[in-house]
């Protein structure tokens, strides 16, 4: 992952952790293990806002940032697009196995297990 991607991720982690919108200074302050210039953090927050991952709102004289959606919502979006079978995303991603009915799969797995027992004995 490149440095910019890594920064975006670290900053999103800060926004997801926070209960309230944060100013650029507050975000910098929470990235304790890094020594980042104020402008760097501002640039990355701006990029995140442009991509739609962060929302910014004015509070007094400074911009405050918050995550547009919760981490769980984004994880769900990723998974849904991966599990989607309706065609549009079919060409974008290739899934390992589409769904099979539980009983059918279990019957085959049992058969495989029995074969394994025979092979071992």
């Amino acid at each position: 992952m490149n440095r910019l991607g890594e920064l975006e991720r670290a900053i999103m982690d800060v926004l997801w952790e926070a209960a309230d919108p944060l100013s650029v200074r507050e975000v910098s302050g929470r990235l304790t293990d890094r020594d980042l210039a104020h402008t760097t953090v501002m640039t990355v927050l701006d990029r995140l806002a442009k991509k739609g991952f962060a929302r910014r709102e004015r509070s007094g004289r400074a911009w405050h940032y918050r995550a547009a959606e919760s981490r769980e919502a984004y994880v769900t979006e990723l998974m849904l697009s991966a599990l989607d079978q309706t065609g549009d995303r079919q060409a974008a991603l290739a899934r390992f196995a589409r769904s099979v009915s539980g009983t059918e799969a279990q019957a085959l797995l049992d058969a495989l297990g029995a074969l394994g027992e025979v092979a071992r004995s």
Binding site: M1, G5, E8, R9, M12, K51, F53, R71, Y74, V75, T76, E77, L78, M79, L80, S81, A82, L83, D84, Q85, T86, G87, D88, R89, Q90, A91, A92, L93, A94, R95, F96, A97, R98, S99, V100, S101, G102, E104, A105, Q106, L108, L109, L112, G116
Partner: protein, 313 residues
């Protein structure tokens, strides 16, 4: 009507029942790679022949090949405009054929461009989300892990490709089964199976009402999976791949939104078919049969292409 137009029309018409027959045939499962090639030949051949036949009917005259004659005809129409002498019924039909051919050509080009754009956009979004959310895990070296309990494994093709595995899959499969999953997905990425699927998915989007487009798309999708299975089996034992497929397939069903049930019912037998094939492999086609399939694919694609550009006397 020239011989070229007759041949083009015949190819365009024959491609449809040929595709239906190929979708129902059993031999493609024995040599998926050869069958995929034949699907590509049929698809390309049908597109070129259908456009060529319509343009040829509209152009009437074959001195410079169908494409050349059509352009010559268009030039005449552009020069004369509406001030042509009274048109005969034949001339009207010819004009309609010309317009239909050009429309079909435009539609086919457009759906491909649109499909590329849609796929690029979906992948861009996936990359951005993975960048923010995914992490590595020593259990699946080289793959990205997303913390979600549903079982899913997939690959994100492209120049910056990635294999993605959910935390649910990590919990579900043992180390051997995970290695089989990775080998399968790596085959997809290495051989750019997404590029094989894209035109068929695009065709289905444009001709959703046509049963043959749907059958072609699902047949090619299944063949691509079977081909990746074969590649994975070069490095991994059959049993591990089969159990991985069944476990992921059985666990993944619960998370599919209810709207996709019809697709799930159809693909249900796909996983079973793959498992049966992995555990009881039929011998592949003999080299002579494979050569014959390759020849058929080449003929289906090149004959219409040649007739489009070269005159046939």
């Amino acid at each position: 009507m020239s011989a070229a137009v007759v041949i083009l029309a015949a190819v365009a018409i024959v491609c449809i029942p040929a595709a239906s027959a190929l979708a129902h045939a059993r031999w493609p499962r024995r040599s998926p790679a050869a069958a995929i090639l034949l699907w590509q030949g049929l698809g390309l051949g049908w597109g070129l022949a259908a456009v060529g036949a319509l343009l040829g009917l509209g152009a009437a005259g074959n001195q410079t090949g169908v494409l050349g004659a059509a352009f010559a005809r268009l030039a005449v129409i552009a020069r004369n405009g509406t001030s042509q002498p009274a048109m005969t019924a034949v001339a009207v039909v010819q004009l309609l054929c010309l317009a239909a051919g050009l429309t079909l050509l435009a539609v086919l080009c457009w759906i491909l461009v649109a499909a590329f754009a849609a796929v690029a956009k979906a992948r861009q979004r996936q990359r951005q989300l993975l960048n923010l959310l995914a992490h590595g895990d020593p259990k699946v070296p080289g793959a990205l892990v997303v913390d979600h309990p549903a079982a899913a494994a997939y690959c994100l093709p492209g120049l910056r490709s990635a294999i993605v595995v959910s935390a649910g899959t990590l919990a579900l499969l043992d180390a051997h089964e995970l290695a089989a999953v990775l080998a399968h997905e790596r085959a997809h990425l290495r051989e750019r199976h997404d590029l094989v699927l894209l035109p068929f998915a695009a065709l289905l989007r444009a001709f959703r009402w046509a049963g043959v487009a749907r059958r072609a798309q699902s047949a090619v999708a299944l063949l691509v999976e079977m081909h990746a299975d074969d590649r994975a089996l070069r490095h991994r034992p059959a049993r591990e791949l089969a159990t991985a497929l069944l476990r992921v397939g059985a666990a993944g069903g619960g998370a599919v939104p209810s709207g996709a049930l019809a697709a799930a019912a159809r693909t249900e037998c796909d996983v079973t078919a793959r498992v049966v094939r992995i555990l009881r492999p039929a011998p592949g086609l003999c080299p002579a049969s494979r050569a014959l399939v390759g020849l058929a694919a080449a003929t289906a694609a090149t004959v219409p292409a040649i007739l489009l550009v070269l005159p046939l006397r």
